[in-house]
Amino acid sequence: MNASSDLFTVFAGIFGLLAVFSLIGAGLKWRISPGAPHGVIDNLNARIKAWWAMIALIGAAIWLGKGGVIALFAFISFQCLREFISLTHTRIGDHRALLWSFFVFLPAQYILIGIDWYGLFSILIPVYAFLLLPISASLGADTTRFLERAAKVQWGLMICVYCLSHVPALLTLDIDGYAGRNMLLIVFLVLTVQSSDVFQYVWGKLIGKRKVSPAISPSKTVEGLVGGVLTSTAVGAALWWITPFTVLEAALIALVINVMGFFGGFVLSAIKRDRGVKDWGSMIEGHGGMLDRVDSISFSAPIFFHIVRYWWVA
């Protein structure tokens, strides 16, 4: 089968599932609290509605091709970095470093994917931004909490730009016998990791009892974590036919990226907790901010990229 008919099948499947979820959501609303507000159900329905929009957006980007996917993730990075820096304490002396982050390093990182320059793509932020941004901040001549501020800006760039840019970078990998199908790797990654988030939420709501760590996240439970990761590992295995992997390989890789994804959400929850907020922003109804939605992808994308690059790229 060729790539576009596989993509068509997958997206038809997702939209079919969303339709089923929307019906279930409407049914729950009608059975349990018709006409009256109900915290959990209304939030569930808002999330499902937002999923329609997000899947449609990803579908449109994929339909546009490499440029569309790069542009979509550049925008996601931009919005995440905005949310991250907005909640992080920086000072006036950091202004120039922030300008460099938003207007030079972020676009450059995505342009490097577009022109397929892997060498610079992989070190632009960990090496060049890492050295140049503190230089720029030091010219601001403000030493108050200097190391902390430099670390925060660098961390924001790593999480929001460097890590996330590994999703569209999957398009640059040359895999034997898989030419022209790389878009499906993105679908595999995003679908597996995001379904893990959804299933953790569902299992947690259904049978969740023991909290993983009440100090960091009041909503994450052991039952949700195990059920969610295992279910979406099964989802990943079931998607083996769109990947260059065997069923077993697909399952193992799905397990790794799901566990990474879980800890992505966990680590960013710790930061939110420290800042005294629940969500990074308010952009996506029912989900919070953009960074709330992609924290798991940010942690899993580079690992997934390098697993594929190490074992599958000739």
């Binding site: 905005r82 949310e83 304490h89 202004h95 300008l99 420290d274 800042r275 005294g276 922003g281």
Partner: protein
Amino acid sequence: MSLDRLLGSLLCGFARLLTGVRALWLGCEPAPRTRVYFANHRSHGDFVLIWASLPPALRRRTRPVAGADYWLTTPLRRFLIERVFNGVCIDRRPERHGPNPVEQMGTALAAGESLILFPEGTRNMGEGLLPFKSGLHHLARAHPEAELVPVWIENLGRVMPKGSLIPVPLLCTLSFGPPLVPVEGESRDAFLTRARAALLDLAPPTD
């Protein structure tokens, strides 16, 4: 729609796009009452952001109080503050000869308009809040009918700090607190301290 109004809407739209501003009405609702919105002051864009967060109908009856020594010095600034933002320009110098600022502001309140006031008196380049000037107290005494609403503006000072030409596209939040409750026989200093504390209450925790 007149050119001035169109320009005002465009500037508001631009400010919202740049800052993704989110208004949190924590202590009151946007209502057509006579109000003095008093806020922390870090940037010349502060009042534009408050203005942009109000519903258009309220916006037209809400006037920023602006320093004449800055806003009346070039034709463009004068046009913006007088025609577009319909500001109340006051002379902040103690040795002024013109009208009394408190009377100017009072005239607007008496006409049923609301005001946006920065009681620190100047832009604050540091952290936290400067001590308040006494104008807010005089206004409160002369116009007990006006509600005094504290508004904390978060992040705008970081979007475009003094002296920088390019803004960083951070997200700004405006927190509208509960109106100050009048206290009988309160001294000027006690009132100003209380008003300042009410505004600081809306600030996010510092680290």
